[in-house]
Symmetry: T
Subunit: 149 residues, 12 copies
């Protein structure tokens, strides 16, 4: 284990299906592609990364709660739970860590019910619409949040 | 394993309690009764059936995601998650299978919050209000969806 | 006249145009096709069928009112009046017969104003999204409603 | 034909079913009972009565339009069209006659969608909740509207 | 004191100002005129009348609560409290007496906030738009409510 | 019968009363005046005209459905059904003809419930507020829709 | 008694607690301070003042009703009844006097339910956010309303 | 007078009718029963109690305002004013005392308009649904609020 | 195992973090503190307690379903699922046990989305705003619900 | 300068981009084409035309204000300001000229936020959905508004 | 230039048209009259005044931004931008000056869309309904805001 | 002029005030700081930058319209116009360029009216909450949009 700050990247439901899921919306990159690119980017930024995915709301809550012991920040793409989970909002608040919210697609151009995010209330900032690239921008933003110039 | 098409029947939260749960609304049939009747009906239609139940939203998501590898269609009674789960809607869409939504009761005659279904957006059709019989009608409808005349 | 139970199938406005009306939504079957298939299915179920269509709300109300004298149940596809007719809801309630509501398309995937049905308040159950097949499923469901096992 | 003022009493959809329709809500009186009682009451008040019923919105519109040629006032129980018919509202306004709106039941204690009446915008007053008696009160009110003291 | 049934007529805020208050809406009759006409009408119907007015919500509540000891029914024009007083609704319910709601003007042709009445939930019926005459109709309706044929 | 393109002009409820109906809103022209002016204008444009009026929603639906066999376009002033008829919207869509929606008054300056039109969803364009003249403008617009330069 | 015009200043619930009530919002002035300053200002303007306070809605209604006999205008800070009292709105209208509405705090920067005022419908104008000073401005405005240049 | 802390228990409109008012909802206990049980419980907790009831909103406001001089906390069941009184909310805030809100019934299972409480904004906590027992729990909670361990 | 009635206390997501989570809102007590105090209180009341916590909605559903076999009542603090879980509401209803809903904070003074509880529809009563103490009050209330005097 | 009446045609934001802007919605005509056709049409009608375009709300307001000095009527296509500009509505009202509102597309078939027009409140009539032709119809309508037969 | 504090009075769109614009609503005073009266009043109060008007939102934003360098307070009548301009709200906040919002008419008695003001969020207080006089009251209020006793 | 792709960075109202405007929300960086950092970042990415600011909605519209001739993409922080400008949305769509929307603060944690953006409908993606850094991330994202790997 290094002593570089470690960032927890949490992926919510259905993100394990990337690459096959509605590519017109989500693109052709798989979650493994995103993980690999995130690890490369993090290394450039002097950061470690833990990269997790689950379809279970409770598991996302567990991870967010525990992050404060071991991580310096949370990047989260909560998928469908973005719009429905007060429990996850509360868990992110509990963590007291800087949070960056990411979405692959521009959720504001999709169905009305995807325009509202509970998660945003606990996030420093939001990045959406840039596919895989959004995770790299989020790491960049996080690096600055935990190590402001 | 047969080479007959297999249909995944997914049952959501509290359906394991059928028979004892508010029989005035849900009737006296147990989930085992529904499974048995569904298997009989499927056999008549030349279909195999996998019949699952869970109270955990994440597990329902897992099953829906995986169905496309092994099944020809999904019949789903998502119980209380019908009205609250974007994650499950997304998982059904990911599956790219024909989906039939079933409810035991006529949800449009119950509380206002039960009138809205996220699941319907991913479903070919909806059948509600016919108790156990609704599952058999759903199998009938599914047979035609996957083997149109 | 037979002594088999007779089911009244009521079709509302524009259903006389089936086959030419927006086939991407409603399919290629004509109302005559639906009537023929319904008669065949009813015969299998030991049921008689009266099959009516009108564009006039008042006529649909008349038919529903009168059904209790001569019929054992009503299957209704009220077309555009589904969403706007309290008069028809009241007429179905007056009939005191079991009612099955049918729609060719999945109305929950269409315009917002098609998601609400006054008719549902008087119906035992709803079947939508299965085209012509939906009428046959409705007959099946009706058979059980009037002759439960 | 007398030269007494004549009042047109218009009854909308399903009122022909009175006596058998949900007696807990609408009571046991038939429309014939209401007509007979109305004629007796009108005679006491020195009024003639025309008493009509139809399930067809267009026919109600016709009657309201024509009333100004032959009648001194309109008493209307528009049934289900109360809540949905702009056409009937416009026809009552066209008539330029005093209009009294009647309902057998107290519509404000029933389903939410029965609380709103388009008809009220064209009515001098509203009487609801008194069953058959409400028609007699309406005649009383009308007598004063057309012959104020 | 007679042994005729006694009806309590409750008048709410600003009804003491009748005759001078917006005569285009409320007419030229004073509350004294209404009381006199109500007493005459009641006598014809074999009823006694108590006729009260107050601008204080609490006093109206008191009167409605106490009515059950001494009266056979309540006729109420709650004025502005019609639209805002849950306390008065509860008091009328507590009384367990038949209640007739009266309004001088047709409240459904006025400002939007006057279309909703809490009182209606506790009333057998509603009469509005007929000025002074409405009180007499209400007595007529009440006579029948407490002495149905 | 000529071989000039024929335009169906459909008039909805209460338009037969023009000239006497609320002239401050609808003007002094009668429907016969509008028909005459429309026929003159159509002749100038090399068009035939069928000019119909009905108070019955179902009849309007019938006419719209049948138009595609015999007409090149539909001009419709649906009166009160503009705001309430899904059935008429569907019938206009079924016709697959160009549709021009006309209103005599500027419906956007009237009551809130007149601001919404179901008909507009099936119309190429809308013309409102110009009285009789609006029909002539609609013919002009229709001429171009069916014979673009 | 002078023959100077007299202005009625009505203060609603909780204004008797000024000085101790949430001073961050309402300031340190007591109602006595406001009365004294109002009397001084009124004297400068050649006006008499009656200055009243009550926590009872009915009493405020009484005062507003009676004002027309004895006063030339009403300045009212209705406190919490501002947002809930139709009865008080009606009483102010009944008075047929010019009315100026005052609030100590800027109600539009506070909770959402304080943004709506029934009183405003009966007021010539509104002044809010200036504490004690607002009463003096209201007197100034009133002076002009009753004695326009 | 003792030197034990004194709690003011305020009861709003219609609570004087307990025991006879809708016993299915409110139970058979009278307000005197509640007062007696509250006094016993308070004595156990070393507290004094003042126990008041009024149907008048203004009187409730008066009591709440004055409480801070003489009491250590307020327990309030505001009855129908719970849902409509901003004045009472303000008075409770003015008191600067700990406030416990009590309801006999579970207001969240009743009509929609009973789900919203203005009072809650000024309360430390809310207890509802436990009938008479709820007052005793409220005293228990209050004891801790004014004498935390 | 004793033969004392056993109460199931269910704690939802993030309650395992008490003591560190936003202490200004939730206080300094840990869930272990609450459990200990609850056990002491239960013993005094002659009750057994099972005390559970989970971040997973499905697990909460499981526990509620199973409670009826082994417990006499359920006390539940559903955390973030309070506001979003129909599944949990249904599970509590299925249990057919008395349910008491508890919240540490006064949810009606927090964000708008925390004001609505699905759980309340299945609860006998609600206690909120009293921190750890609220659990003890809930046990007190439960004791009475299962052993009314 | 002629002494023919002059019509001011005002074009709002982005209309300078016509021809290249979303031609599927707005067609291939440029604003220069529209101006040329409008001038030709105006000449036929004996009218002069001033034809202006601006992206600046304030400039549109200036033009509308000044029009009354120099013009006989205003035809306006306010583009995006149609839906958001109270200032422009007020300026059109200030002008006291007849106003005709034009839109190239049928705004009622587009996004929800384009269905509402502030401009309509100041317009005699509205013409939408006919592309360039709509301007010519508007001139025709304007000719009649300023020179009624 | 004096060393008296200078107040910036900003007038928004259409206020340059005062005197001719809807005099029933806005009165007969011109903006020049208001400026003259404001200058006189300011002089009495020992204040300087800059008095500006523009129809352009951006220009109003510029003025508000720059005011803090040169002025001690802003009085603003933002006309139609009151209801639609977040940019102007932000500019007033940026200025960090005391702001008084003025309207000539009582906007709460006009169309619904005029009841909401973005400006109020940045204002110390609001004065509306007093015509020209309102500006003088605003200067009075401003004098106290910048020079409290 | 280089032949590197040029990005237009558009800044809306009040962004010229950065550094002094509510630094708790917007930070201490000035717009010049942001421009300098953006130029440095762009150079690293092989991009040219035009950096503009205006308080005038029309000017922002002009810039967006013209961008397609000279630029490869638009980064826009529309300030207060984000929430109110359909005209700007249309101009961005007209440009047919990739658009990245930036906000300094996390608008989803601020007032409700800042949660909605018209701009988002024309944007590929949104970045908010990262202050000056957000512009650099936007450039990074833009580089990839115009030169995907």
């Amino acid at each position: 284990m290094t002593d570089r700050p470690s960032i927890l990247i949490i992926n919510g439901p259905n993100l394990n299906m990337l690459g096959q899921r509605e590519p017109a919306i989500y693109g052709r990159d798989t979650l493994a592609d995103i993980e690999a690119a995130s690890r490369t980017k993090a290394a450039e930024l002097g950061l470690d990364v833990d990269f997790l995915q689950s379809n279970a709301e409770g598991e996302l809550v567990d991870w967010a709660q525990n992050a404060s012991k071991s991580h310096a920040g949370i990047i989260i793409n909560a998928g469908g739970y973005t719009h429905t989970s007060v429990a996850l909002l509360d868990a992110l608040t509990v963590s007291e860590l800087p949070v960056v919210e990411v979405h692959l697609s521009n959720i504001f151009r999709r169905e009305e019910f995807r325009h509202h995010s509970y998660i945003s209330r606990a996030a420093s900032g939001v990045i959406c619409g840039f596919g895989l690239k959004g995770y790299l921008l989020a790491l960049d933003a996080m690096a600055q949040l935990i190590r402001p110039d």
